[in-house]
């Protein structure tokens, strides 16, 4: 079986700081995704990528950048952290069509 790893698990940043979250998968999945989840709320898609060097905007891409350096990794950058921001960022990967969709364990962000 494969695994999808997100680093770091916890991230504390300061207002205005640029913060980078990383995600690695060894399923050899084509598509990777970044979601934001606020407490008790649903998943909001930030960016996704259907192959290496591809980048597609989701519903919440403003304020974020992403990079698919290679097939197995997908990073997300918060371009300017907002004070009191608190959310969980979930990475996921899947085969084409959405099969075998798997989530990482998440990165919990707190901005002070």
């Amino acid at each position: 079986g494969g695994i999808i790893t997100q680093t770091p698990k916890f991230l504390i940043g300061q207002e205005g700081q640029k913060l980078t979250l990383k995600c690695q998968q060894n399923f050899n999945h084509d598509t990777m995704y970044w979601y934001r989840q606020d407490s008790g709320k649903g998943l909001r898609l930030i960016y996704y990528s259907i192959t290496e060097n591809d980048l597609q905007k989701g519903d919440l891409s403003e304020g974020y950048d992403a990079s698919r350096e290679k097939k197995s990794s997908f990073s997300l950058t918060v371009t300017s952290a907002q004070k009191n921001e608190m959310a969980v960022f979930l990475c996921a990967s899947s085969r084409q069509g959405g099969s075998d969709y798997t989530f990482g364990s998440g990165t919990r962000l707190l901005v002070i």
């Binding site: 649903g42 069509g97 959405g98 969709y101 990482g104």
Partner: protein
């Protein structure tokens, strides 16, 4: 574009009563993949059920769902709710990317 609608934001039930969480979808694709994901507190979502076969019941861990293309629905059901079923449930539609519904929180009480 593709979309998924979960009409209930919150469902509260007494233990032992039946569960039904609604899910409808819109897509131009004639053979959609539908999924249910469950997310317990402080965990990531994980796959509960999936289906791409019309009118065939799929079951897992006491839950079941049937894809009905005629009504574009994939409702999640369970005959008897347990306390441990309390979680956030997502219905999702497969395609170039997985499209999630808004999620339904299920709270089961004694």
């Amino acid at each position: 574009g593709d979309s998924v609608t979960q009409t209930e934001g919150l469902v509260t039930l007494t233990e032992g009563l039946p569960v039904m969480l609604n899910c409808t979808y819109q897509t131009i694709y004639s053979n959609p993949f539908l999924f249910w994901y469950v997310q317990h507190l402080n965990e990531s979502p994980r796959l509960l059920l999936k289906s791409f076969t019309d009118n065939k019941r799929t079951e897992h861990q006491g839950f079941h769902a049937t894809l009905h293309k005629s009504s574009s629905s994939f409702h999640l059901q369970k005959s008897s709710a347990q306390l441990s079923d309390s979680a956030l449930y997502y219905c999702a539609l497969g395609g170039q990317k997985l499209v999630f519904g808004q999620g339904t929180i299920l709270k089961v009480y004694l």
